[in-house]
Subunit: 268 residues, 2 copies
């Protein structure tokens, strides 16, 4: 059984002093019903959010009125980080289901970098993980067909829900409307509908209302064209945490690519 803290411990951090920080975050909880804005694009950036329970989507608006859902957040995710680099929020955060989350003020975040380097490093790695996820989604949308995209998306949801302990017997609750799925994948709701039925008719999944059961994970994975990345756990953290004072045994360590004779190496 996992908790909503699984995203914070995935890189193997949380020293005792870090725990105190996290419990300070979770001291103030907020709840919202479904289909409410947590924060609109253009709003002032005063905090980020730690999602304890429920589904939240983060979306970007286009001038044409169309929207792109850039991330479906599940319990344990941190919300609103990208906007830290912007003058005003760039993404709209909306609840998909009833949700519980903890606001974390930007000033509290900054303290981390000065006083809790291990936790800061973990958040940094977690942000890199989100970048990988965005790269994956971009590759689905840019380079695969509707059925391939949908398969990849459903698998991704399945795996992330499993990590949060929300999958039982290969089945999970999928609260997204078909229009929302379309806005994630760059498809219309009509085409999502048709494509879903194809996936069902192939015997890969089963739908009962909004309950979704994966019948043939292998078949789904075959349809999904992406090469799923393997996330580093503690190793990702350890890679960064070389003990102080160790002398670099540089040599070719970062130069595997330079096996080509025409490559030049200058400086040093």
């Amino acid at each position: 059984m996992r908790t909503s803290f699984h995203r914070l411990t995935e890189f193997g951090l949380l020293e005792p002093s870090d725990l105190a920080v996290v419990s300070k975050w979770t001291a103030r909880k907020r709840q919202l019903p479904r289909n409410r804005e947590i924060r609109r694009a253009g709003a002032e950036v005063k905090c980020v959010y730690f999602l304890l329970d429920g589904w939240v989507m983060s979306s970007v608006l286009l001038r044409s009125g169309r929207r792109q859902i850039v991330k479906v957040h599940l319990p344990g995710d941190m919300l609103g980080f990208p906007s830290l680099a912007l003058e005003t929020a760039g993404e709209t955060l909306e609840t998909i289901t009833d949700a519980t989350f903890c606001p974390i003020e930007t000033g509290d975040l900054g303290d981390l970098f000065r006083h809790h380097p291990a936790l800061a490093t973990g958040l940094f790695l977690s942000s890199q993980k989100e970048r990988v996820a965005l790269m994956q989604e971009l590759s689905w949308v840019g380079a695969t067909s509707a059925i391939e995209r949908l398969s990849a998306f459903l698998l991704d949801l399945h795996d992330r829900l499993a990590a949060a302990g929300l999958v039982e017997d290969q089945a999970f609750h999928l609260p997204l409307t078909q229009e929302q799925i379309g806005d994630v994948l760059g498809l219309t709701s009509v085409h999502v509908n048709r494509t879903l039925r194809v996936v069902v008719s192939k015997g890969l999944i089963e739908r009962r209302g909004r309950q979704l059961k994966v019948l043939d994970p292998g078949g789904l994975r075959q349809l999904a064209q992406n090469i799923a990345p393997t996330y580093a756990g503690k190793e990702g953290y350890l890679r960064l945490m070389r003990p102080d004072g160790v002398v670099r045994a540089t040599g070719q360590s970062c130069s595997e690519a330079s096996s080509n004779p025409s490559d030049l190496s200058i400086g040093g």
Copy 2:
């Protein structure tokens, strides 16, 4: 005139001790001709890279053999960060033009978080900025037509090149092949070709070989459907750097969204 350090100073950092760290990075330079791999997907993650000169692309491969270029890197960019969260590299880094870059070992990066919090914070914010860029690209690819995507992409390149001091008289060198542009935007090279000529015929841009001149920035911006985010400069940094010991005047500070009477607030 800017330098390739503009991406490091954009959030207003670089204390004297940080400068020493950066100059250590740039002590070892590597050069590669165009069309070479810096690092292939699947390779061990030993370092990240600081791009001093030239264009580099980072791409994700699909099992179908198609690729998605997830980022076109320009001088001043940091390369390879997302893979820090992975067991083995998830993105292939390839030079588009002759390029000069500095490998930074992961261990050196980790030191930052313990000993150079200001610089670490800057890298953190820079990563958030890259997330925003990915979100934007995803919104182009997922929710706009070919000509809209192309306009947004050309504008983005223009603005980023301008920030690096590489635009003169609204014109810049565009070393990408049309196939590569297609792999960025999720289009075929054939369609990129046709779409480019439409943009030219509308009098928005001019092409002379691989030199591209923006004739009508306003027209381009109108075609591009995205609401361009405004990046926070030093303010982004200051938001995080609340002086220690200041008591939170919490109140409604993170609760604008809860104006709805049906919202509940628990805990505290």
